[in-house]
Symmetry: C2
Subunit: 174 residues, 2 copies
Amino acid sequence: MDMKKVNSLDFTEFVSVFRNVVERCPLVAAAVWSHRPFSGLEDLENHFFAFIDALPKSGQEGILRCHPDLAGRDVLMGRLSEESRREQSHAGLTSLKTHDRLRLLHLNQEYRKRFGFPFVVAALLSDRATVFQELARRLHCQPESELRTALDEVKKIIHLRLIDLLDSHYFGVE
Amino acid sequence: MDMKKVNSLDFTEFVSVFRNVVERCPLVAAAVWSHRPFSGLEDLENHFFAFIDALPKSGQEGILRCHPDLAGRDVLMGRLSEESRREQSHAGLTSLKTHDRLRLLHLNQEYRKRFGFPFVVAALLSDRATVFQELARRLHCQPESELRTALDEVKKIIHLRLIDLLDSHYFGVE
């Protein structure tokens, strides 16, 4: 889909296409539509970012809380969004051995308890080992800086999902 | 569920219970959890309202765009949320005769075209005749005041859905 097509979508169509650019938050796509026409990928994604940046802290935490745990219950129950399933699968998180899955479960629980939101990482840019390392490292960060780190990961996910949805050729991505 | 129970929920449980208090916007419940403990229904619903009030105009329009058309395609396709199905059914909108359905379809289209979001009304407080009347009337309102009217309807829906989810006895509602 090129930007001319994107700019021609009515809001129902737009939300249908971009609903999960922010995981389980179709509201963000529904808000971004107000800012059409978009001049390109960067313009479009900046509106997704701006929505998140403008939220109060509770809203930013809310964005994170809409994400599933990595290799968590939603994976086991087959309740992941298609995008999340693909990303977690890429990082080898949908096929963990029991030992690793239990370790990740434990680390996720510690993380959720400390910060009040799940551990979010752009899994498409990670592999299994990096995910474990990062989770163990970020678990000890300060809450304020960890919120910023986690939102930066959300923005990487947004960027990658938008590229995937849009005509990659049009944006010079091969 | 009483408020003690509500205040004991972790964020996954809280979002699971309150995810559709704002139609198709689990983000709002996920954000509201940050403000626990809640002293009662009024406190809880005020946090839902405050989230919406703090959004920029595009975000408030986004909240409305997450709502289905009354008696629209989602009704025909069986894609309504359980809450919305019950509310629209109460107002007699899920069993319209063809003539009325086409008239509503036409009015909805006019409304969406004029305001850039779907017509939202607290259907539990309405009947079929009132919905038609209100839609025909609001279609001619100014965009700024219509946005405020529509958000007031969202707040009525939030109030009714919260009462439904919480222990009515606890709040003295019979």
